[in-house]
């Protein structure tokens, strides 16, 4: 199925921290379950290496970055590639609003981490709906 026309939700690779897994899990919750017809994803490393096909997609479709930590790799890679960034989310911000949901585990998230991912997914969905309303 063509990805063009959808909103790209792009999460960081976050291999070093549970926060990265939260962002990645939230992204999948959005693109596979909550808004599969409106949103899709792409490999962030393809943006990092400058893959022409992917660069064209992120430059011509709205993108939402989802980052685990303040390094904000997803946001910065999209910006550096001149992607059409409409919103950015950071797991640390959502954690600040949900202090009881401390995520643990990179290979497998603990239940609190999964709940935190769902809270983040809800925020991303609201942004997708808002973006589509304003199109």
């Amino acid at each position: 199925m063509s990805k063009s026309g959808k909103i790209f939700v792009i999460s960081c690779s976050g291999i070093g921290k549970a926060l990265g897994t939260v962002g990645r899990t939230a992204m999948y919750e959005v693109v596979e379950k909550l808004r599969p017809n409106e949103a899709t994803t792409v490999c962030l490393p393809l943006i990092t290496i400058g893959d022409e096909t992917v660069l064209k997609l992120v430059r011509t479709n709205s993108c939402i970055s989802v980052d685990g930590c303040p390094f904000q790799c997803a946001r910065k890679n999209i910006e550096a590639s001149k992607g059409k960034l409409v919103a950015s989310f950071m797991v640390t911000d959502v954690l600040r609003e949900n202090r009881g949901l401390k995520p643990e585990g990179v290979i497998e998230l603990n239940p609190k981490g999964l709940k935190l991912a769902s809270r983040l997914a809800e925020k991303i969905v609201r942004q997708i709906d808002e973006t589509n309303k304003n199109r």
Partner: protein
């Protein structure tokens, strides 16, 4: 710049769009957490572009193994472009061909079958880590 003598860097593609990318990420974590925790370090691949010169020094400091999900080889290409040439590359989609019984289907939570596949990839990464460290030790002996 000093080269680390006893650690191997592992850079995984983590490819969010493909099940093989998730396998590469989980297999890398298995090596870091369980199989070779004292011998390995990692860095997020997109941090090469988003970070500073400190992050980009990674492959100059650590002999680095790239772990890629598919034949686009983003980890290998990205590491070479921003940091330094990896000493080896492991491509998940090639390893999968050796185990036709095991399929990678999920990008999110891995099934038992996918975890088994990730462990097989992890063991290949660990063997490569040993090879890299062994080669370095041999160099130390022979000067």
């Amino acid at each position: 710049m000093a080269i680390a003598k006893d650690k191997v860097g592992i850079v995984s593609c983590s490819g969010e769009d493909l099940p093989e990318g998730t396998i590469s990420r989980i297999a890398t974590r298995m090596v870091l957490e369980k199989l070779r925790p004292d011998d390995t370090v990692t860095i997020c691949l997109p941090l090469f572009l988003a970070g500073s010169e400190d992050e980009r020094a990674f492959a100059k400091v650590f002999p680095t193994i790239a772990v890629d999900g598919c034949d686009k080889r983003c980890a290998e290409v990205g590491t070479k472009k921003y940091s330094g040439k990896p000493v080896a590359t492991i491509v998940v989609s090639e390893i999968i061909k050796k185990y036709p019984r095991l399929k990678a289907k999920s990008r999110d939570k891995l099934s038992a079958e996918e975890k088994e596949l990730a462990l097989k990839v992890a063991k290949e990464i660990a063997a490569k880590v040993d090879e890299v460290l062994g080669r370095k030790k041999l160099r130390g002996v022979t000067g």
